[in-house]
Symmetry: D2
Subunit: 477 residues, 4 copies
């Protein structure tokens, strides 16, 4: 059955070879520091068994003829695209932010689309490799990273112009049975708790850059792979336990120190003409996913803003209602753009449905340019307390607790504990190292707004708009 | 056949009794001052016969079993909603702005929805009246105004609190055969060139305000109706003819000086509980239409900006490309919101499909808050010439024409005439009395942004968002 | 005495040779079409005799030892700079917008500064020419245009690369007694009602472009000058007279068809290294003036917004108060930037005080990016009526007047006439050809925002800010 | 001598009674957790001895006839106001953010102004108390907190309406020798490392609220005072030491548990009519200080953005130059507003110069609404690395360091260490708990933007702007 449990997932992680470095230590995948980040992905397994979410999360694969977790699904219809977006919004609500596992889904769909296009053009057999891998992936309900962003060196130079050619991941050797790759992928989310690294190119490439045109899937603990990692989690709680504080994230620099990849796991090798297509196809799928997750983040900000306004007794102040309305508008315009992307989607040569990337881009763009603005709204309405709230220890100290409980009282009928819980949540959510991570992710995850601007204008039929004006102005070329 | 020609439409207008006042004169509907505004509506008839637009404009009515113009259509499906939006964008491109006739379409759909709901609740027979009127309207391919906005008097008071009760249109007499109404509707677009006035309430009403709860359809030249009108058109051209300058618009104060309406034309009378529903239902349909027309206006601004950048030789300047991209994003987010409104639409008790108003509102809102910003972009890129361009007469004066032609030269290969045509178009479009009208319409037409904000927050399920945060923060009520 | 009357000014205009073309006609300077624009400049003379404004407008010239109008003043102190800004704001209030005459003041100051710098560097005697001209200018209380903007042809090419070298004004002949110039200056405000054209370069030039490096003063009706002009005024009133409608503006293409300029009127000729300095010095002075006039425009928009809110009975609605506050903030930040420019000003080698251009630029920038936004605020609060208000003739027509007066009633205690006056003012101010002109001027006058951005970053000491960060980060180069 | 050293300051702190609680512990003021926050204030002493800053920091007091640190100065002129602003910007550069000590300066100036006004109106002798306290404060170069913000309870209720009257600090007993106060002040910066708490009211009060109208100065370790505190510092460094990481901040809830204050330390007691004046006068001074510190914060963001662009090799990309220019504009407009506040300042009855609060407000407002936007710019240009940068330990681990150094290489000529230093600085500055604090402070410190909006509109002469429009429109009341 293509549906596994979170326990099975954790068991798989434990069996992997240690290649994760955090804070100067080489750690096993059962190290406590990974527990909360891993919980986020665990939740995607648990949701498949939860009656409230099951109908969104469980679907059936025509490839293996079994029920699967939608995070491993290949989109066969517009409805699949609509459902993915809906599922992401719903699940992000439960972990208070990025559900993480959508990335791999977007990557396998992109690999499926482009491997077929390469085969069509070049007579290669990457798509067959891909389909075999897909079946394995679905049957085992695997989790993948998206290892895309190269470290990129000097941004004013192309890959083949870098002082060190490894600054973009590349093929250093082609053997009969496979290839050897070297380089590093940066900012790779989930690295220490995935089964597989799904590797795709960062950008469009030129003729001289065949060595950098490479895509493949590789077990996360394969020889030569090292994950140098940074963890971001909300502050842990002592007694005031809350679901939000049970989740987290890890980003890694994934080093490929001459890693061997067998041919059956390779989906592109030297076909530089398709590097840009694969990079942008992943981006197009992933920005569509953002049209699900970013409204969820806005929902959390909106809920927190509305609740703190209520707890402060100012929920009817016009400027506060306006701020909350602003959040509604941002959330729903991003979501609407994702819906439009789905509805205007179309099948590719592989049969995989691809959303209309223009609307993936406009939605992700709007989200990206507003993330800091949204935090600003929450901060404005919450007041200064999230930044000056004494630590939980002081609420447990009998010398100070009575003062804190006395002086946090606000609206009658809301207990000191509820006030405390809410402000601590807002503090953790918006005034912590974790919120810094979330702000950066909101800008850069899936491509920063400047990338969407480029995506939009490159795809846009501007000439037809000039023609409208030529007609109206009586200009006949 | 439910498809008429523009000539038949104009003939109908000519036969009407004169009750139009403009500039101190009582005029006939064949007065030249109305020609260009009338052209806009004529175009909606011509488009039905144009192979390029026919498949969008012509549909079939289940009510009369004939082909009709989509502007008289009642939405029977999500696809109808999607097609309406698409048609509006396409046709607005051809007249360089508001196609006007969508308003009546939105009104008849709202009348259809709400008359049924009143009947369901009250046992009245308004919906039957409506259906009979609809068949007549479709068979004759009629044109209607939307007579909604009351003049409203003191905005801080309700209708029944006004010093003069006529400041909101009201029923002053109920007879066996019909009702008599008095008051005035303001800012009514198309008044002098419609067949029928379609009257609906402005706002939600209270128990004391039954007299103001009234909806009906009435021939535009019925006794007691007077249209005091203001015309807005681009500057007329002498020799440099251009399609844009052939269109225009008229707004009227429509005075109802004790006008009799027979019962079979009445769709609401005293059911104050439904006044708000009808006002908002029209708004919901009409803001959905805005998700089609406003992207078209943005398309024109975008095309003009792109073309003038090209003619100036600066189309690749990064800040200019960014401005144009901004226009793409606005246009497509508004359009996407309309698509989402359609896709999330649902049938009402009448069988008429209603879009998801939340997305009608977010789309219209985004358009409304950006219209001045879009003009700003065009102005910024066009430079000062549209505001200082000598009048056409000076281009025809042999003493001055050679200087003007010499000194307007810009990018090689673009003739002086083309430069002149483009800058004159931009001048007429963005630096004229007509552009003032268009800016005001962009803000207020269909309800200003502040109305959409209210619409959005009133419909929004904010509690569920608070619940998301309560869950995450561990707050259990 | 260096103070003349508006009558003397008008007499001077009448004596000039006709070289003004508007609407296909060659007209005299006493043509009625010029009356309202001329009134604006007349007002600067009248204000010097008005006790309310005298202490701002009248000052004493050390050059001629007489009282002069401040519009002909050379800044000898920081206080002069502060006073100029204050005067401009005060006078713009009385004409409802651009007072126009500041441009010439900014130009003579720039000519004074740079002619001295050229002399210092090159041993020329331009500054002596300038001082003689200045005395004549001050003694006669003259009015000048700023003839700066070349028509510029292909924007992607430099002056010497244009297909037609005349697309930037240039010296075509140097004689013993003077020079001959050819070309055209575009968008030149006040052309038909100035005494002198004050000509300066548009931009920085290169070695090959000495012929284009030219600055001089020339009587407005000199042989070879032709003014092809476009007039912008509010709609004229029939009976509802109002000060606002008595003013206007004319912009001209000023054609120099081989115009002779005697050496004593030449302030730069071939010193290309100083072309940019003169262009930017004028800009620096003029953007400082904008820090006075633009707050005045915002004041008018603010006053109109506040008054219409009051007349509508919604002046206490929170979102309206917020909009008005937004206008206060814009007005005062722009004004503050002008004050900072004055206070941080410094004397140049000529002894003329120059404001700190960085603050001229930041103030003008903020104004420029907000002008459309400000119109948006007025439009939003005014509602649709300014765009649909029936023409004045219909208010004079006894058949329609009673309806209009009945239905325009709003807040009790505000007469129909006052309501009518206010809405007609707002209509003329914000929904007319004149408002289109004002929007364009608000963006481009004195240099568009993109020019200020360039000005700011070119003058800014960014390295010192990098050094702050290097220190904090412990980076030692 | 009124200038003390930082060592003397630290010695004073050590001698105080322990009443500081952090993280569940009662600590001494020499606890290591306070070291970095204390360093910030220490720097204000060190700067007085630093030749680079001495002329800004050292001034002479007419009250004690000695040299003093400007942070203890009373403004006797416009120049004093200009210098204070300049000093703050310069010193904030050295600690990478808030210099903290300006608050007490703003408070003593406000106390001085308002104590005199109370005496003038009521015949009290608070100003004499104040002057004596001032001399002591200046002679000893003391450091004060500003204990203003009450915890405020239910925001929809006034102080005397709260369920618990202590939710605003109040006088619970008046004795012959002094008063006893109870309550708590929230968000009090610097609490654990000041000499004195300077207490002022939060807001305007009504007749019933005399008990809440109280202002005084009290030693920081007086009986009954408890400081429940939260510390915010950049992440500490192991080996990669950097000045930025040596500073920090502490905010406290300052509990007044029946604290006795002798009359000679009381500056207001029961004069409720002056509570608002004192609150707003402090705000007016403090927002003026913000016009110095906030540009400094923007300078740091600007320098970091420019430097990371340079290190990434993209400093000439147009969109990046535009972002940096945006930062220049914000910084200088805020600074200009402070200059205008100073220049338009005036002496109060006490002789103390007060800035024009309208410009204090506009400057602080612009800063407040942009702080998140500025972080957004830095984040956008820096890319994702600050959020995913492996911890310092991994750079010290020989197994991982070589990979990190290899793959962080960017622009040739910039060493791996410099890259590392810069990205770690940006990470600490913008993606950490400290940055969360800084964002909250940027919004709320000195009063959030909504407070400045209120301040601006309450002080603004809006009627004169309506009069401008009445004149222009011909409306004669």
């Amino acid at each position: 059955m293509g549906i596994k449990t979170s326990e099975e997932y954790v068991e798989r992680l434990k069996r992997m070879k240690p290649n994760v470095y955090i804070g100067g230590r080489l750690i096993g995948r059962d190290d406590p520091i990974l527990e909360r980040p891993t919980n986020t992905v665990r939740y995607t397994f648990d949701a498949a068994a939860d009656p409230q979410f099951q109908q969104l999360v469980v679907t059936t694969s025509p490839f293996i003829g079994e029920e699967i977790n939608r995070f491993t699904n290949i989109h066969g219809s517009i409805d699949d695209l609509l459902k993915k977006q809906e599922m992401i919004r719903a699940l992000c609500h439960r972990v208070g932010g990025c559900i993480q596992r959508c990335m791999a889904n977007d990557t396998i769909n992109a690999m499926g689309v482009v491997s077929k296009e390469i085969d069509d053009a070049k007579g290669t057999s990457y798509h067959q490799h891909f389909l075999e891998f897909l079946k394995y992936y679905q049957k085992n309900d695997l989790v993948g990273s998206t290892s895309q962003s190269d470290v990129k060196g000097d941004r004013s130079k192309r890959p083949h112009q870098q002082a060190d050619p490894d600054l973009y991941l590349r093929v250093v050797e082609k053997r009969k049975d496979g290839i050897v790759v070297r380089g590093a992928k940066g900012h790779i989310t989930m690295g220490p708790y995935v089964d597989e690294h799904l590797v795709i190119p960062t950008r469009a490439l030129t003729k001289e850059e065949g060595d950098w045109a490479v895509s493949f899937a590789i077990p996360a603990d394969a020889d030569g792979i090292k994950l140098i990692s940074r963890v971001a989690t909300p502050r842990p709680r002592i007694k005031l336990k809350a679901p939000y504080n049970e989740y987290g994230v890890v980003d890694s620099m994934v080093v490929f120190d001459d890693v061997f990849v067998p041919w059956e796991r390779v989906f592109m090798c030297e076909e530089w003409e398709f590097a840009g297509r694969m990079a942008l196809t992943f981006a197009g799928f992933h920005r569509h996913s953002y049209c699900g997750c970013k409204p969820a983040v806005t929902d959390v900000i909106m809920g927190a803003t509305a609740l703190v306004a209520e707890y402060n007794g100012v929920e009817n102040a016009p400027h506060i209602r306006d701020e909350i309305t602003e959040l509604m508008i941002i959330a729903e315009l991003v979501y609407a753009s994702g819906i439009a992307a789905s509805v205007k989607g179309h099948p590719t040569s592989s049969g995989i449905y691809e959303p209309a990337f223009i609307y993936s881009n406009t939605g992700r763009y709007l989200a990206g340019v507003n993330i800091y603005h949204e935090y600003d709204i929450l901060t404005s309405v919450a007041g200064g307390l999230p930044s000056t709230l004494p630590f939980e220890e002081d609420w447990l100290n009998p010398e100070t607790a009575p003062y804190l409980e006395k002086y946090i009282q606000r609206k009658p009928g809301i207990s000191a504990e509820h006030q405390h819980r809410l402000f601590r949540f807002i503090s953790d959510f918006s005034c912590s190292a974790a919120s810094g991570w979330s702000q950066y992710a909101g800008v850069h995850g899936g491509g920063s707004p400047v990338m969407e601007r480029i995506g939009i204008r490159n795809q846009y039929d501007l000439e037809s708009k000039k023609d409208v004006v030529k007609y109206l102005a009586g200009i006949k070329d």
